[in-house]
């Protein structure tokens, strides 16, 4: 039998027998079911994504022409400030960690729920009020000092809005820390008996690394914001040079969190891609241990690179050199992942469904963002492009091309499990191509704009940049439109889509071993690992693939079944006839 059949058969007794599915009212309640909370996160954050996107569309509308002709300069500054804050703290961080993290981790490790279900619900319910609070700042004058909120500027403009911004971010940061605690305890303590660290799916490794970063770095941001709040509201001068304070200290504290934040935004997506590619290429993940440990490496390195955001702030040269080196080093574990993913699909049986399209789109676009990232790690080059549109291009290639494409891949891949229905494939493809085209039109020209001299956070620019900016704005509009097929597809399919069954993709990880959607406690009994999470390709051997440098006679060099990367088979139940004694 196939691997999938082996896993499913072994887990039949654990398969949920109670009716699954929830009444819509559950999703508006204080439910402690991690699946309900996960979906609450996903829907809420997607709504904030649309709001952040609307703000971006407004920004691009202004930037379609060189003059300031759409909104006032003050409003424009608020638009990009709130856009970024919403996208980071109300979309990508909670969607990846709270959304997919919460939904998947217990299922992947065979647990009934997270370690602290009520804490989980509490962490979620902090999000909508904090988000509404942030958006309400538009009524009193939204903050306009950028999502980075550097003092002294942030202390003197839009003070009411700034105070709201600080409070909102403090709440969202707290939610993130609470969720991180939950993931760390759950992953450490609640895996099923047969699942050691080296048997758990890579998404769990990713969530562990992400949660560690959130735990260690977010509190430092809280400290920075508390001091900023004192300066703003009470009149102290921690960061105000007029009173003897130092604005650079704020920058250090802010970026100590905000750099790891970008890894918090991408690591879960890396984990999801590691889950999605093997399933749709029908091939094991290439280099499991390398991918797992590289997540830890990125976690550790991510904590010691923050000052690369401050290369022109007036930091001492030795500091710039240190951070340049650590930043460049991070490219190595990231590169390991990219090459491992490429090797995963090479030689597979690729199905180009929407999930796979977005996963491959992620791979291509994220690499561009990664390349521009290594470029800006070089201090002499960064001195030229810091605070220009080159940076805007870089961040959007990694955040949109990386995180958002990855999130979409996750939506398409796990929607059948979450809802019990299949999404429409055709509209998924339309969604993908609109996204790819719109995204590249919007952000690729920004590289040139920055290099040629267009600085960021400006409502007016030199007329010679008009043509490229128009292209970017058109791309942004296409992106806005691209959300429509997705939204319609989701709503329609959730209600009327064809039934998915337990395992429409014939996956091997444990979430596919129970019903779609899973019952309240996921499994009727503890599930078992009859086969590893990525063990595709056994019973039915496929075309032999010529892997470079491999030598099937030598276990260390064999890429195939005799590879040293494998444990010995149990002769009694080994799937391959060759391994049965």
């Amino acid at each position: 039998m196939t691997q999938a059949q082996l896993q499913e058969t072994a887990n039949l007794p654990a398969h949920g027998s109670e009716p699954s599915g929830n009444h819509w009212r559950t999703y508006f309640s204080f439910s402690t079911d991690h699946k309900v909370i996960g979906i609450q996160y996903l829907v809420t954050t997607f709504i904030f994504y649309l709001i952040g996107g609307a703000l971006a569309t407004a920004v691009r509308t202004e930037l379609a022409t060189p003059e300031v002709d759409f909104v006032s300069r003050e409003v424009y500054n608020s638009l990009f400030t709130v856009h970024a804050t919403v996208m980071i703290f109300l979309w990508i961080v909670p969607a990846t960690t709270g959304g997919f993290g919460n939904y998947l981790v217990p299922l992947l490790i065979g647990a009934r729920d997270m370690a602290f279900p009520r804490l989980n619900a509490l962490a979620f319910w902090m999000i909508p009020p904090a988000g509404i609070l942030l958006l309400s700042s538009f009524f009193v004058g939204a903050p306009g000092a950028g999502w980075t909120s550097y003092p002294p500027l942030s202390l003197v403009t839009d003070q009411a809005g700034e105070a709201i911004w600080i409070l909102s971010v403090l709440l969202l940061g707290t939610s993130s820390i609470l969720a991180a605690i939950n993931f760390i305890v759950t992953i450490f303590k609640m895996r099923i008996a047969g699942m050691g660290f080296n048997q758990m799916p890579l998404f769990c490794w990713a969530m562990l690394a992400t949660s560690t970063l959130a735990l260690l770095a977010t509190p430092v941001l809280a400290g920075a914001l508390i001091l900023l709040a004192f300066d703003l509201l009470v009149g102290t001068a921690f960061f105000n040079p007029a009173g003897g304070g130092n604005p650079i200290v704020y920058q250090h504290m802010f970026w100590f969190y905000s750099h790891p934040a970008v890894y918090i935004m991408i690591l879960p997506v890396f984990g999801m891609i590691s889950e999605i590619l093997p399933v749709h290429a029908r091939k094991p993940i290439f280099g499991y241990k390398a991918i797992a440990y590289s997540s830890l490496a990125i976690c550790f390195l991510g904590l010691i690179v923050w000052a690369h955001h401050m290369f022109t702030s007036g930091t001492p040269p030795w500091l710039r050199m240190f951070f340049m080196i650590t930043t460049m080093v991070i490219a190595v574990p990231t590169g390991i992942k990219v090459f491992s993913w490429l090797a995963t699909i090479w030689g597979g049986k690729i199905r180009l469904n929407s999930a796979m399209l977005f996963a491959l789109g992620f791979l291509s676009m994220f690499v561009i963002g990664g390349i521009s990232g290594v470029m800006v790690a070089a201090v002499p080059f960064d001195i030229h492009v810091h605070d220009t549109y080159f940076i805007v291009a870089h961040i959007h290639y990694v955040l949109f091309g990386g995180s958002v494409f990855g999130l979409y891949a996750g939506f398409y891949h796990w929607f059948p499990k979450m809802t019990g229905r299949m999404l429409n494939e055709t509209w998924g493809q339309v969604h993908f191509w609109l996204n790819l085209v719109g995204f590249n039109l919007a952000f690729l020209p920004m590289h040139k704009l920055g290099l040629e001299g267009m600085n960021r956070r400006i409502a007016e620019y030199e007329p010679r940049f008009a043509f490229l900016n128009l292209i970017c704005s058109i791309g942004a509009y296409i992106l806005a439109v691209s959300t429509i097929p997705f939204i319609v597809n989701v709503i329609w399919s959730w209600m009327y889509g064809p039934k998915a069954g337990d395992n429409p993709w014939k996956g091997l990880t444990l979430e596919w071993m129970t019903s779609s959607p899973p019952p309240v406690e996921n499994f009727d009994a503890d599930p078992v690992l009859a086969t590893g999470p990525y063990d595709y390709g056994f019973g039915d051997r496929a075309t032999p693939v010529n892997v470079m440098f491999s030598d099937s006679r030598d276990p260390a060099l064999a890429a195939g079944p005799n590879s040293a990367l494998r444990a010995d088979p149990d002769p009694a139940v080994a799937v391959s006839p060759d391994d049965r004694v």
Binding site: S72, R73, N77, P152, L153, P241, A242, N246, P247, R282, K283, P284, I285, F286, G287, Y288, T312, G314, P316, R320, M321, F339, S340, L342, I345, W346, G347, G348, K349, I350, L363, V367, V374, M375, A378, V379, P380, F381, H384, H386, D387, T388, H447, L451, E452, G453, N455, A459, Y534, G537, D540, T543, N546, F549, A556, L557, A559, G560, S563, L565
Partner: protein
């Protein structure tokens, strides 16, 4: 045609390399180079463009080939090869990027040192005798001799015309500030200096103060204050950058140099313009709603033009300007230097003499009141 895949792969690799090298040299993405630091930075960028293009083409190539070659055939429900890993291959794709990254780090460090990032205090006394820089500038003859320019070892660059010389009495050598307890601390260093030991007495210092929403450039030697930055080509400028209210940043894309202006913490930027022209000076740190409008110009001109500009500015800001008829760069007597204009204005020399004394009396009168 059954060409072995290793050959097609090799050809693809060669093509990829050639394309990457070409793109690295011909991308046309940077503005013109107008400082001595710019070519060094562009060289680094070109290298990174080559590597980046190659990497991107490699990744895209593998994805596209895989998608076509390994697409599931209709009806095929079997799995792919059970390949879990390959240690030598993984070592290869860990070590090659590590080497590339190490190389880039060293190259960047080199460039950074060359543009003076590590040694903003190049001009310290320990570096030896002051060098005599030869004036490559044209038009040096226009300038009148300095009143006190006969001091030993002093350069007679055109920029000194009519000024008291370029000894940086007002400038702070080594970028050091005195603390209250008598100890010294250094100004946060900047970049842009080209090594070649400059003597503090020859430093060409300009103060740049950023405020919402303009730059004010002060030339301490000549007392000129201007909204546009004029600099002579071929001479290193030390820009002492400060801010009065919020954080700003001084950026000239054509110089490839940028430095934040932080209130309460003076910073410095050194550059040597080497191309005559006008370039934008852009504020590169959000400073308020008019951040986009905070821009001015840096005019890199020949030393002669620069000297003339300085003169004009000094006259323009001098007392009694309303009586000024012409600039007197060489301290000649009024009827002497106005002689050329006399014919054009149809004025008699005696009238000039009378005007001049009237003007003098008037200005004294004004200043006395």
């Amino acid at each position: 045609m059954n060409i072995p895949s290793s050959i097609t792969t090799m050809l693809a690799g060669i093509l990829l390399t050639l394309i990457s090298i070409w793109v690295g040299q011909n991308h046309g993405l940077m503005p013109v180079q107008a400082s001595e630091a710019a070519p060094l930075i562009d060289g680094l960028f070109n290298t990174m463009m080559t590597i980046g293009t190659g990497l991107f083409l490699l990744v895209m190539g593998v994805i596209l080939v895989a998608v076509f070659k390994f697409r599931r055939q209709p009806g095929d429900e079997t799995d792919g090869s059970p390949v879990h890993g390959n240690i030598p291959l993984e070592i290869l794709w860990t070590s090659i990027p590590a080497v590339i990254v190490l190389g880039l780090a060293i190259y960047s460090f080199e460039v950074y040192t060359q543009i003076g990032g590590l040694n903003p205090m190049e001009h310290s006394v320990a570096h030896g005798q002051p060098t005599h820089q030869m004036a490559h500038m044209s038009g040096a003859a226009i300038a009148a001799p300095l009143p006190s320019s006969e001091a030993e070892g002093r350069q007679t660059l055109v920029a000194d015309a009519a000024s008291d010389g370029i000894q940086a009495e007002g400038a702070i050598p080594g970028g050091v500030i005195q603390k209250e307890d008598g100890s010294e601390t250094s100004i946060t260093p900047g970049v842009g200096s080209m090594p070649g030991a400059k003597d503090p007495s020859k430093e060409f210092v300009i103060q740049a103060n950023g405020l919402q929403y303009a730059w004010i450039f002060t030339y301490p030697d000549s007392g000129v204050v201007a909204g546009e930055l004029h600099v002579p080509v071929g001479r290193e400028v030390l820009l002492n950058i400060s801010a009065s209210d919020v954080i700003h940043a001084f950026w000239v894309p054509e110089f490839r140099l940028k430095q934040d202006a932080v209130p309460g913490q003076p910073t410095e930027l050194r550059f040597t313009p080497n191309r005559i022209g006008e370039y934008p000076v852009i504020c590169a740190e959000l400073c308020g709603p008019y951040h986009g409008a905070m821009r001015t110009k840096v005019i890199a001109e020949s030393p002669a033009d620069f000297a003339a500009w300085v003169e004009e500015q000094k006259v323009a800001s001098a007392d009694g300007l309303e009586q000024a008829l012409a600039v007197n760069p060489a301290a000649k007597a009024p009827d002497e230097f106005l002689a050329p204009y006399v014919d054009r204005l149809g004025i008699q020399p005696e009238m000039l003499h009378q005007l001049h004394s009237e003007a003098e009396k008037a200005s004294h009168h004004v200043s006395a009141s």
